[in-house]
């Protein structure tokens, strides 16, 4: 048995080395860096420097507020939409199901830059199709990029468009694992389709929904692409700046690695905390 283990570890060594150098070490290193003042040469150990700044930094609170706002509004809306899409995709009445599944999943495989560029065009003030459609139903044009509220809405719409289908496919797998005869038993129990959905489908989908919610929470805590590319680096005036963007700005624009590391650990800590709360709330009764 021991020889077998040794052989296995010899095969794993190349990967473990890469994992240690490019994953484990940066995780440890960034934790150590977060306790150093990195805008002096050489860097010096100053435990309260970055963490102290974080507590009193309005830019951090702005990014935190934006991130949590997106999390609280966008994630539930997206999960609800994904459940509806999954139920539709699972319907035997739907023709060309394969095509719809592909269409819903496609946004995930589209390049981030390309999709952001298309969103910028679609939501453009004067030439975008969205404003033209709004106009056609009597709603005045919206300046999606210059006002904070529409810009935040735009970020949420974009993220939802990109990830709802992905979550729908995961939820669809969960739906298909619910045995058909449970529904047949409910039908014979004279339970309507709507009641079957709320009293059977949703409770049985809970583990899958929790899984999607956890993935989405982690993803949203790291949100970067959309505010960077669509609303131009968190604009207008930092109105859509997220923690991910703040980290980038501090780390790679201002080269303040210590502060960026503190932000990174805060993001990870928040994601873990929110996920644990979520798991606790959705736990199975004993």
């Amino acid at each position: 048995m021991r020889t077998q283990n040794a052989t296995a570890y010899r095969f794993l060594t190349p990967y473990l080395l890469i994992f240690a150098v490019f994953w484990i070490w940066p995780i440890i290193s960034s934790f150590l860096i977060s306790f150093q003042a990195t805008r002096t040469v050489p860097w010096r150990f100053a435990p309260a420097f970055n963490w102290g700044r974080l507590i009193g930094d309005p830019a951090f609170y702005n990014a935190l507020k934006n991130t949590l706002l997106i999390l609280v509004i966008q994630v539930p809306v997206m999960i609800a939409l994904a459940i509806v899409m999954a139920v539709l995709l699972n319907s035997p009445l739907l023709k060309a199901r394969g095509l719809y599944r592909f269409a819903f999943f496609a946004p995930v495989v589209v390049g981030e830059v390309a999709y952001s560029a298309v969103f910028r065009l679609m939501f453009s003030l004067d030439f975008g199709i969205i404003n033209k459609l709004l106009n056609s139903v009597g709603i005045p044009k919206i300046d999606w990029f210059s006002n904070v509220t529409p810009a935040m809405a735009l970020i949420m719409i974009a993220v939802t468009w990109r990830w709802a289908g992905y979550n729908a496919i995961i939820i669809l797998a969960g739906l298909q694992s619910i045995p058909e005869d449970v529904y047949e038993a409910a039908t014979l129990d004279r339970v309507s389709k709507v009641k079957q959905f709320f009293h059977i489908t949703l409770p049985l989908l809970k583990p899958v929904i929790v899984f999607c919610a956890v993935l989405s929470i982690i993803g949203t805590m790291q949100l970067f692409t959309e505010p960077f590319l669509i609303t131009e680096r968190g604009g207008p005036g930092g109105g859509t700046e997220t923690l991910g963007l703040l980290l980038y700005r501090q780390g790679f624009r201002s080269l303040n690695f210590g502060y960026a590391s503190a932000v990174a650990y805060t993001m990870a800590g928040l994601a873990i905390a929110i996920t644990l709360v979520q798991l606790w709330l959705m736990r199975e009764p004993k």
Binding site: V182, E184, A185, A186, T187, L188, R190, V191, P203, K206
Partner: protein, 361 residues
């Protein structure tokens, strides 16, 4: 309680017809078992009665009312599924009361029905458990309980015991039989296990490839099967079939020669049909209908291949030419593997079939 009548019931999946005009009358309060091999259409027939499958042709009536276009929920039936189909996220109590609660049944009445079902099935102790905390037999009881609380006119069982081990199956079989006596409700039960069919049924419906082969009381099917399929399907171990040829006929009998047993001949009295001389026929003999040499009408030599002595009963798997025979009771006692001996067939304890499998009486 209600009678169930199937008239020329047909089921097609696309161009494939899987049930070909079934005609079955089930009396009020009767326990009828649909039995047949996999793919014979027995579960499809049950699901059509339940309203879970559309009917492609014919009529299904419950309590005298044609139900073809009536929703499953409104047919007054309850069904117990092979996989139990319990709601996994609900407790036993919630499983039992779910249908009633969802339909706004008065709380007191729901509680009364749940309590009664729990008492009948002795599951009072399990009410707060979830399905995954129950054994297979307990789950099956809950599934039956869920059917009981509906107080249906007809109970449908779709292979309810097939997921249970042998011992539990016997136990549940007795419980279902007791339940039928207690409730007195019409029950239709699907199984591929002929022992379940024989032990539970008032009448058995034998199905093969979408056709009803025979309907009758268990012992009637055993003693007087309509064809070779029913003769082979009902009874365990299976009936032995010996190749034969008609060598002579008279007004009341045919003389047949067992072609694989050195020309042994049997004088087989007949009353309805007389096959032509030279016709190929099949002689059916149940394992317990082989007798000690000289006690029957025709002796055949056999060699014991394997002997199984189970205490109350013994079986000998014997080779007789190209045919393998299973022998039971006195003919097989004291026999060991490798023994050569002679057994005897009585004409009145054997059945004759034509080449196509139809019974010659």
């Amino acid at each position: 309680m209600a009678a169930v009548t199937l008239t020329n019931v047909v089921k097609r999946f696309g161009v494939f017809e899987v049930v070909h005009g079934a005609n079955i009358d089930i009396a009020d309060g009767e326990f009828v078992v649909f039995v047949g091999p996999s793919g014979c259409g027995k579960s499809t027939l049950l699901r059509m009665i339940a309203g879970l499958e559309d009917i492609s042709g014919g009529d299904i009536a419950i309590g005298g009312k044609v139900m073809n276009d009536v929703e499953a929920a409104d047919r007054g039936i309850a069904m117990v599924f092979q996989s139990y189909a319990l709601y996994p996220h609900m407790t036993v109590e919630q499983n039992l009361s779910f249908g009633l609660r969802m339909n706004g049944n008065p709380k007191a009445d729901t509680e009364r029905r749940v309590k009664r079902a729990a008492e009948i099935l002795r599951i009072d102790e399990l009410m707060q458990r979830r399905p995954k905390q129950l054994s297979g037999g307990q789950r099956q009881r809950v599934a039956i309980g869920r059917a009981i609380v509906r107080e249906p006119q007809v109970f449908l069982f779709d292979e309810p015991l097939s997921n249970l081990d042998a011992e539990l199956r016997v136990q549940m079989r007795v419980e279902i039989s007791r339940l039928h006596k207690e409730l007195g409700v019409t029950m239709i039960y699907v199984t591929h296990d002929q022992t379940e069919a024989m032990t539970l049924a008032d009448r058995i419906v034998v199905l093969k490839a979408g056709n009803v082969e025979q309907i009758g009381a268990p012992l009637d099917l055993y003693d007087d099967p309509a064809n070779r399929f029913v003769a082979g399907f009902i009874g365990s171990p299976k009936m032995n079939f010996l190749g034969a040829k008609v060598v002579d006929t008279s007004n009341s009998a045919a003389i047949i020669e067992l072609v694989n047993h050195g020309g042994a001949r049997l004088h087989k009295p007949l009353r309805e049909a007389f096959p032509a001389i030279g016709a190929e026929v099949v002689l059916g003999v149940r394992p317990e209908h082989f007798f000690v040499a000289g006690q029957g009408d025709c002796d055949i030599p056999v060699k014991a291949d394997v002997a199984e002595h189970l205490g109350s009963v013994s079986y000998v798997y014997a080779n007789a030419g190209p045919e393998e025979l299973i022998l039971e009771r006195e003919a097989s006692r004291q026999r060991a593997s490798g023994d050569h001996f002679t057994v005897s067939i009585k004409a009145e304890r054997s059945l004759l079939f034509d080449k196509a499998g139809a019974r010659i009486r």
